[in-house]
């Protein structure tokens, strides 16, 4: 089976700043692949290399078997790209934008309408509105439609959900999952850890390095030790006490509970109860939980000393 994307030991620096340090991975056709990492991790640089807008300093990359440096013209015909900032013409209407992008790819809206139908239906009532006047969520749907209209083989979406409200974010990912059935490889980058679970496989990136790459389940399964969630009416003091708990690897606040990570195999919940009661904590609840991507991300950050 031909791989949709192959990346081999890519390095890229901007002057003194090393944006990517030795990234390698593969993506299969029809895969929904997520790049999870904060700003500055290197996601945009990676996407720009894969869409042939930048040349790597070291290493090579293939998109649909074509080299990103030598065969850039061919690659540009078969990929769909949604860059970080909104890439639409603000003065053109929704419909005009779509027709424009169909035109430059030498196709028509009609030809591939089935691909974007579900998405476009949601913004169709606004088809005569200038793109600049749409809400964040609407712009995002339009940008996705424009990137899909020529039936690309590989779709690159650079932080498509950043700055968009939670409702639209959820809807967007639902749309992506349905697109998978069309055998298009979809590469998405996002700083939102919770979106990782929606991907087939994810790559956790921090400071230009790949910390791990696997299915979300496998990554969370790989986490050594156990994860506990402790909630209490006195959260702040609870947090402080847990942070001082020497038997734990880490204690981080997670909304209304604290996630405690323990690797020590001899550890029991009872030990924790004893410790906390000894500290004067009352009325707390301890649950065993399955670690999430964010837990893993932070653990890996500490492990790779990628934390500043």
């Amino acid at each position: 089976m031909e791989l949709s994307v192959v990346v081999n030991d890519i390095h890229k620096a901007y002057g003194q700043v090393k944006a990517l340090s030795g990234l390698s991975f593969e993506v299969k056709p029809g895969e929904l692949f997520g790049f999870i990492g904060p700003d500055g991790a290197g996601k945009t640089t990676l996407f720009r290399i894969l869409t042939t807008l930048l040349i790597p300093d070291v290493g090579y990359a293939l998109v649909d078997g074509l080299d990103v440096v030598k065969d850039y013209k061919a690659i540009r015909k078969i990929v769909g790209y949604m860059p970080g900032r909104f890439s639409l013409y603000q003065d053109l209407t929704v419909e005009e934008n779509l027709n424009f992008f169909a035109g430059i790819f030498k196709t028509t809206v009609k030809e591939n309408y089935y691909l974007i139908e579900e998405i476009y239906k949601q913004i169709e009532p606004f088809k005569n509105r200038p793109a600049g006047k749409l809400s964040g969520g609407m712009k995002q749907k339009l940008a996705l439609s424009c990137a899909l209209i020529h039936k690309p083989k590989v779709l690159f979406l650079d932080e498509p959900t950043t700055g968009v409200d939670a409702v639209s974010r959820t809807e967007f990912w639902e749309m992506l999952k349905r697109l998978q059935q069309q055998d298009i490889a979809i590469l998405v980058s996002t700083p939102y850890m919770d979106e990782a679970s929606l991907c087939d496989r994810v790559a956790l990136i921090q400071q230009g390095k790949l910390m791990d790459i696997d299915t979300p389940q496998a990554i969370t399964n790989k986490l050594p030790g156990r994860m506990f969630a402790i909630s209490s009416p006195a959260m702040y003091s609870m947090l402080l006490d847990l942070q001082q708990y020497s038997r734990a690897v880490s204690a981080y606040p997670f909304g209304d509970s604290v996630h405690l990570h323990v690797i020590d195999t001899s550890f029991t919940i009872n030990d924790l109860e004893v410790y906390l009661t000894g500290k004067g904590q009352k009325g707390f609840k301890i649950k065993i939980i399955h670690a999430g991507i964010e837990d893993c991300f932070m653990y890996l950050m500490e492990k790779h000393h990628a934390h500043v």
Binding site: Q16, G37, P38, D39, G40, A41, I123, P125, F126, R129, L134, S135, G136, M138, T162, G163, V164, D165, A166, V167, S168, T170, P191, M193, Q206, Q207, P233, A234, M235, Y236, S237, L239, Y252, P253, F254, G255, D256, E294, F297, M298, M301, E302, H307, V308
Partner: protein
């Protein structure tokens, strides 16, 4: 994670931001539709809502950067129509978009803003050393800002915003795009500031951060649709997380595409 556990429930709380029927209109468009709320002294107050819901408009009014169309607004004891300059002197502001000067060093940024806030040289020196030590960045005081990673920049920006010990600090999406560990360290800073008596008014996209606030409001289409502690909101909407509460409220908002 409310600090309110320290405050007894029988205590009368002093209102440091007082808003009644705030309306802001741009032509025919109503950005803020009769907002009413109090923010208590020393509180960590969360301001949530989708983009375009009217959050930024409201914050600008509270910061004295914009005049309301109507309504009573009092910030740190000063009127938002007539005493905007006094308001600005008593607050700090930090946002994801506004940051420090990239071409200046850490120290130069502190000196500059210290001067802007009216601090004397000695105070600036003390504060800078104090804050940089707290961040464990004392070694970087001469480093130019653009050479620093985003997480550090955000933490420094926060410190600059509070260096003059303002009564209130407004934080507009301060942790956007920042890695999860740095995000939590940022909230450590927020807690400390709150502990030291600074009222924190924060907007955020991250629903788990909503839980760290004592009370939150959720703005939808220019109105306040919810105002309570996270615990109470979860009970009311029968939700297990603030994310669910938010989704429930946001989905019922009119789909105007605005």
């Amino acid at each position: 994670m409310p600090m309110s556990e320290i405050i007894q429930s029988t205590e009368v709380r002093e209102s440091i931001i007082y808003v009644r029927d705030l309306v802001k209109r741009f032509g025919r468009f109503v950005a803020n539709d009769h907002l009413s709320f109090d923010v208590y002294k020393g509180e960590i107050f969360g301001f949530l809502g989708a983009n375009g819901a009217g959050k930024t408009t409201a914050i600008r009014i509270l910061c004295g950067l914009s005049t309301p169309t109507s309504g009573q607004i009092n910030v740190a004891g000063y009127d938002a129509y007539l005493q905007t300059e006094k308001i600005k002197q008593n607050i700090g502001y930090m946002s994801q978009k506004f940051s420090l000067y990239e071409d200046l060093s850490v120290e130069e940024n502190f000196t500059f803003y210290g001067g802007v806030y009216g601090l004397r040289r000695k105070q600036i020196k003390e504060k800078t050393t104090l804050l940089l030590t707290r961040l464990d960045l004392l070694d970087e005081r001469k480093t130019v800002l653009k050479a620093l990673p985003l997480g550090w920049k955000q933490k420094l920006a926060f410190c600059v915003a509070i260096m003059h010990d303002p009564k209130i600090v407004f934080l507009d999406e301060p942790t956007g795009g920042v890695d999860p560990i740095t995000r939590r360290q940022f909230w450590d800073l927020i807690y400390e500031a709150s502990h030291n008596g600074i009222t924190v008014f924060v907007t955020t996209h991250y629903m788990d951060e909503a839980e760290y606030c004592e009370r939150v409001t959720i703005m939808v289409d220019g109105r306040i649709d919810a105002l309570d502690t996270p615990a109470n909101l979860k009970l009311k909407y029968n939700a297990s997380s603030m994310n669910e509460v938010f989704l429930r409220l946001a989905r019922t908002a009119k789909a105007t595409g605005e």
